[in-house]
Point group: C2
Chain length 331, copies 2
Amino acid sequence: MGIYKERVTIYEVAKAAGVSLATVSRVINNQSNVRPDTKQKVEETIARLGYKPNALAQGLATNRTTNIGIVIPDVNYVHISNLLSGMIDIGKIYGYQTTLFITKHSKQDTRDVIAKLVTSHVDGAVVFDDELDEEDIANIINYKIPLVVIGRDVIGEKVGCITIDFAKTLAAALKQAAEEGKKIEFVKTASSGNMTSRTYEEVASELKEGSYETITITDSYHETYSSFVDYFKKNKDDNKVFVAPRDSLACAIENAATDLGLKVPENVQVVSVFGTKYSYLARPTISSCDIDMYEVGSIAMRMVTKILKDDLKEKKFPFEAKFTSRGSTKF
Amino acid sequence: MGIYKERVTIYEVAKAAGVSLATVSRVINNQSNVRPDTKQKVEETIARLGYKPNALAQGLATNRTTNIGIVIPDVNYVHISNLLSGMIDIGKIYGYQTTLFITKHSKQDTRDVIAKLVTSHVDGAVVFDDELDEEDIANIINYKIPLVVIGRDVIGEKVGCITIDFAKTLAAALKQAAEEGKKIEFVKTASSGNMTSRTYEEVASELKEGSYETITITDSYHETYSSFVDYFKKNKDDNKVFVAPRDSLACAIENAATDLGLKVPENVQVVSVFGTKYSYLARPTISSCDIDMYEVGSIAMRMVTKILKDDLKEKKFPFEAKFTSRGSTKF
DNA sequence: CTGTTAGCGCTTTCAG
DNA sequence: CTGAAAGCGCTAACAG
């Protein structure tokens, strides 16, 4: 509560109830060794005084905070909200609060954020952030923070991971198109990160040289939309397959095409790597590699709680995306 | 960091650097009264030992945590992500971390969540949650937590608010349609909360009796979509204007209509109260009352920081939605 | 400019 | 079953 000091402390409760601190502490921690009548007496005064324990003091005394840190680049993506949602729901079940650490895609911020994570004394953390490199991860591990990393393959004493594989399923889907002579156009954004790059590279390695290209755009619906409007004005019918990192960008491409009178998927095909809600809201619906990020989040959170109980058997949980063919592609 | 105890403390730094705790404390708090050479010596040992202060201990000692609590019903809505994003960005500028308190639309959880908020000793809080009633708000205020409430009109000693008015702009837009004899259909969801209800009531009060109806649906794109598919199969051409609380639901209605071959806005018109990204991604684009939730979030966060500095002049910040006519309506 | 010391609010032995 | 007392890691007077 910052600033103020008028909050009731355990000491005042003890005095008002005519017992010692220790007894009050036992009551609020639900310890069995308290006589029922004194317990009731204490509970009454707690209620009467509106006493709430100070989690900072508790944390300092017990060396546990029941807080889990979540490191993500941004909250403003649907797949990340889904992930968050899963983590929060499961965290709540196990009695954990969540604190957000947002890196904003910036290397600079990332250092600060990790420092904050360390000082905040969370009981554990889950990271879903391409911006963190091996060294950053190692740093967190150094401080003995139990950790689950999503989207990167690291395991260790108190470290588990969830890997997400888009490449295999995406490659399978694109191969058909490539074999039919379509040109594949990988659309990258400055901030779409290593995961996208790695995926594209892996997919490209399965494609014939010359059957694909990569272009880089700004990570914004509006800018993507207008640059593709320009593009399609000049290239009415080049019959490509565009691969976008997220479905809202795929949607921008699709909208640019259809708004100019091109037909999707007849003249232009679009695929999204990461499929979320936009995939089925858009018209035509967008083919994408789907992954249930809510589930990923809940598994991640379950993994941290297991690490905390020293009970994590499988340190690596591989997730595989599933390609869903929708209206934006012929395959 | 839970469980482990091997972290370096200020005491060890002091010993290693050959100074007292106090000096180390001064250095980490950037106090001026330290001789440059001792300062450097201390900083060196801090770096060498990898010392990071314990925020819990600091918080306990100073009675400030540099943490702001954010109370929301869910993270899985675009307008809420936007809001969060604004709060986080501005919070970061002022050196505040954000802790999430999610009520999940449940009255039960809400009590617990408020208790958590109190025990966690955040320096301040911002609430955007219809689930909290007057009493809950009063409760938070009782514990002297500086507070900014979004979407409800409360002010007080350390309490500011941001009100959001959809009704006026929505009413203006709908009146035209109603006067042309269109029937207005207010679509409500179980969890869309008081804000929506109040808005609908206020709008309805400006409409002629009999010119509108209210229906309640499930708060899910898929369920909304399929129930409207059923609806439109039976009511091919009733020429209504549907008002949905959020644009993804408006999109469900619109998609249901267009997928059945109806024309939007010729046969069916759709408006969304809350416009977000979906409004312009959808085809046809969806007319909506737009509000920049990122901006709301940043203002909210700025307001808390001002309350904390006892420097909040305007305790009430009224926000008014702007109606944007898009492709889903004729008005 | 630097060290000593008394807390911050709570938990946790250890006695009784 | 209950109380006394030490200590978690840090800050903030107060001396010097």
